[in-house]
Symmetry: C2
Subunit: 189 residues, 2 copies
């Protein structure tokens, strides 16, 4: 069984028109993804942002909840926020995990394009059989930029409802929760 | 196949100490639950709050995104926020859905207590076979108060990760996404 890390990417991601942008950190993203990660036994949650002031903001939030006054008020938030690691780039994430060769990178996307996607059943089996660390990437804004999808080992299929509404605009907080449940949730849940 | 509605309950819910309280509306809850509902073909998303000023706030948010300037800026938000219906009590939800006798009420809880819970596999089968409207209740704060759990037809099992971390402090935004995916997601997702 692979150990699993997740990363929330603020650059390079897309805007509505498909241009590459950098998004701002959203406080509730940190909380929600940390809590989901903690629930599913994820070992680290990397917040990726190229701007120092934004990384400092994320670290201040973490410090408030890990050892700070937030930890005293809501103690259950501490083990979740302790998983947060704030870095400048995806390269930094890969270095922290032992180098690209030791990591299976899973990208997520809500877009349907020409790329080959992997079903969750296949991804779950791959993850269970792997000895490498599995890193699941989530994009803010309108999703991860193309090069991140191209460089991934696995591109997970877009999430869609049973009745094929065709609506594929989940929040990253919801998408992360669903992806972790599909990859790591109890099979007989 | 049952048609499905969800409700986000702000009263009666519990605080950390188990006392019954009323929570404030969180803007991002409205967006995230509306987007998840729209993805999974949920027919209505009821925001339940006993305080008029809070209901008016929720309606202002909805109006901004349905027909307002938000709809022009992010058109994909409109069909999601159009599902929002703001009411004062759970009774109002049941009236809107044709009366208690016509509704199968599913409650959610992260707590493990003495109550009998239903697995997601069983709940999914029940929902698929039912002709009544299925209403799934989500609690804010520290979860739905006991009477709401007692009065439900089905109490869904707490969500837990595969590796039994024991950590059960998902955000309501994450929990709703996972529950809808388990009940309504594509089986071979």
């Amino acid at each position: 069984m692979s150990s699993v890390a997740i990363a929330l990417v603020h650059h390079p991601v897309l805007d509505r028109q498909g241009a590459v942008i950098t998004t701002a950190i959203t406080n509730l993203d940190l909380h929600d993804l940390a809590r989901s990660a903690c629930t599913y036994g994820v070992r680290a949650f990397f917040v990726v942002h190229p701007v120092l002031a934004q990384r400092e903001l994320a670290l201040r939030v973490k410090t408030h909840w890990v050892g700070g006054s937030g930890a005293r008020r809501i103690p259950t938030r501490e083990p979740a926020m302790a998983l947060v690691d704030v870095v400048a780039s995806l390269d930094d994430v890969l270095v922290a995990l032992g180098g690209r060769a030791r990591v299976d990178v899973y990208a997520t996307s809500a877009r349907n394009d020409e790329r080959h996607v992997t079903t969750y059943a296949d991804a779950r089996a791959r993850l269970a059989a792997s000895e490498r660390t599995s890193l699941v990437l989530f994009g803010t804004g309108w999703g991860l930029a193309g090069p991140l999808l191209d460089d991934a080992d696995v591109l997970l299929a877009p999430i869609s409802g049973a009745n094929e509404t065709g609506y594929n605009h989940l929040s990253v907080r919801a998408a992360c929760a669903i992806v972790l449940d599909r990859l790591l949730g109890r099979a007989n849940g």
